[in-house]
Amino acid sequence: MGLRRQIRVGSQWMYADEAHRALREALRVMDDEHSEHGGHHQPWIRRYVFSTDHKWIGIQYGFTALCFLLLGFCLMILMRLQLGWPGQPFAIMKLLGATRAPGGILLPEAYNQLGAMHGTIMIFLGIVPLAVGAFGNYLVPLQIGAPDMAFPKLNMASYWCYLPGGLIMLASFLAPGGTAQSGWTSYPPLSVIASQGQTWWLIGMVFLITSSLLGSVNFIVTIIQLRAKGLSYMRFPFFVHAQFVTSFLLLLAFPPLEAAAVLQLMDRLAGTSFFLPSGLVVSGQALTNAGGGNPLLWQHLFWFLAHPEVYVLILPAMGIVAEIIANGTRKPLWGYKSMVFATVFLGFMSFVVWAHHMFLTGMGTTISAFFQTTTMIISIPSVIILSSLFISLWGGSIRFTTPMLFALAFLPMFGIGGLTGLPLGLAAADIHLHDTYYVIGHFHYVVAPGTIFAMFAGIYYWFPKATGRKLNEFWGRVHFWISFVCINGIFFPMFAQGLAGVSRRLYDGGMQYQHAKQIAAQTNPFMSICAIGLLAAQVPFIFNFFYNAIAAAFGNRDEGLGSNPWGATTMEWAATTSPPLAHGNFEVLPVVYRGPYEYSVPGSEVDFIPQHQPAAIEPAPRGGLLPEKAVAMREN
């Protein structure tokens, strides 16, 4: 392709064509702002409320999801206060009202409500919308060089199904008898005879499932149809593969839960007995329904979704970590191909393992052995992905920025989460561990210091792309270190508790049982203190986030930052501005010439070559300037 001319603009060297493009765009924006009748002056409500721009929808999802995550966290804090000091009055409990916490002492029914809603909110209102709706929506079209999602209006509809669903879930707190209190798993018969809040939970779930379905169709079509010229599947950033498989999981696994929700609504509202066995007696009174139903039917339909759901929770996180590790080590991912095939295999296998959540439902040995086998097999692709990420660090020139810290921490944390899953997947061991705190420790390790750390990593990493400002490094490190220590303090003792036999969903944390009393008393207060510490650690993050977001909204960009402050190769960084073009993402749709992780290519003057760049950067005319620019980027 020949040399690309470079010119100096202010203190920066730029490619001449990029400089011209930037100038044209600046003139267009000025023109736009000054003209009343400029083609696409949208009313405020179409631009910021019912937007069809994937970037803004991503931000809507992100902001909403972070609020829900904080809410779910606060519910957990109330639970941990009760667990650490059972039966103690707390002033803050009075917020829950006299019916739930008379005199500031949490009632068991209220504890159950907090538990069910903590799980529901974190999973369905927090993590999935953040991982898929926010990160996925914002980044996938940019990373594949597309002008937007394939169906922008459908994208908007997805968000506007999610938000009402979330609000209905919140409204359930106001229902008589309180909100859903049968666990996030809503097992019948308990959930069928539960109070009105459960109905709102089910209706909310229907909205959320619809939102997911619409979104997943959009993602799959976008990735297959709108990828840029030259972007073959094996040139995708790993993040795109992760989102692709995740979307298939959402598409095909969610409908059975939708069916189950309809059946449970029928049981609750129309008096059917899909899940109610014959002869059920509740509080001394026999139920008058027809009976003949099967509570296990709910469990099958629920877990058919809920197992793939956990891979929905982890895959985007792995995608984010992979991107940051490749970028932060300045070298390509080790085993990219294996990671891709492992991800696809993982997605497929996730549909045949679900009954490992049902080992204690009276399964015979044949069917138990089947699910145990598939569960053991599915651990293999996870190991491949995690190992590849670990090995990717070897020989890397690691920059310990805040996103990199979170991404690095993900690796051992997910490792602990994954390893502790193995005894749960073995039917014999699961007999002892099922429904204990061991399970809670296991899945929280994967989701909390696992996925949520990856989410934080992603926020710190992509914040400059979305706003043109970096989050403050110092407070980022404070956020990281305190969170890391506290989160391990909360969840590690849970393994010990579970092995000792402390059951989950006990409002006093096990104090009522002889075998559990001692370990509960020893560990629960400590864990609760760590939880409060974890909450405190989020404060600098919240300030950091809002301060910089508001500053960016008022147009205060970081002048020296540039569009690619981390020196990354993927197209969301290199082919567009920070923030990217409001309309259409790219002046001209990019063409892809190389793989996604061309870092430290031998013979190249700079330690990264963007995907859409045809040839390696040639030295600057006067010699010595461009390597300095690369050094300056490394220092950033």
């Binding site: 409908p255 029928m266 899909f274 039917l297 001209v588």
Partner: protein, 207 residues
């Protein structure tokens, strides 16, 4: 369809909206609707699976033909198959450039759908008048749930067809190919709804 994003236009041009992408051979909405139908297979599949589990676990299971109106359901089956033909004829005429004939066939499809729903209404009200409600037993429960959900899907299709007969038809004036594609896509959804009934009918009424 050229792959340039149009910066500065009111509506963003999404590539392959109307013309197929060469390597996949499909346009976006075609892939989109098939993906959606795949999810619908899993939705109705879950209900079929529930039916199997409930039936095999039940001490006694009434036979549909003992009290359900098999003749009406057979009639409904013919009507729905007819509506599938009319919609594919509509699409064919649109491809031939004949909006008028296309609209006639779409209207015929809507008519068939409404006849189906009315017949369903008669069926349901007869069941209710005989005190056969969803809560009476699990067979009736699953019967009403599955046919009810199916009926809602029919209603959804009717609404979309009416939209394309009415305000949506304006698209033909400036982009007939895109309009034709839209009818094809709705038609695929419609055939799927017919397909579900083809299985529902014998399983619920004749077994």
């Amino acid at each position: 369809m050229d792959a340039h994003a149009s910066v500065g236009h009111a509506e963003l041009e999404i590539p392959y909206n109307v013309h197929p992408r060469p390597d996949t051979g499909v346009y976006n909405a075609k892939l989109g609707i098939w993906l959606f139908l795949a999810s619908e297979v899993m939705l109705f599949g879950a209900l079929f699976s529930s039916l199997i589990l409930l039936r095999t676990g039940a001490e006694s299971w009434p036979r549909g033909y003992e009290f359900l109106n098999v003749k009406l359901a057979t009639f409904n089956t013919f009507i729905l198959i007819l509506s599938s033909v009319t919609v594919v004829m509509a699409w064919s005429h649109l491809r031939l450039g004949n909006l008028k004939k296309g609209r006639i066939y779409i209207s015929a499809t809507v008519l068939c759908a409404l006849i189906f729903l009315v017949a369903k209404g008669f069926e349901y009200s007869h069941e209710f008048s005989e005190h056969r409600l969803p809560k009476t037993n699990n067979f009736l429960g699953i019967y009403f749930t599955m046919t009810g959900l199916h009926g809602l899907h029919i209603l959804g299709g009717v609404i979309v067809f009416l939209y394309f007969l009415g305000p949506g038809a304006k698209m033909w004036a400036h982009d007939p190919e895109r309009y034709t594609n839209r009818i094809e896509v709705v038609g695929l959804y419609w055939h799927f709804v017919d397909l579900v009934w083809i299985f529902l009918f014998p399983i619920l009424y004749l077994m």
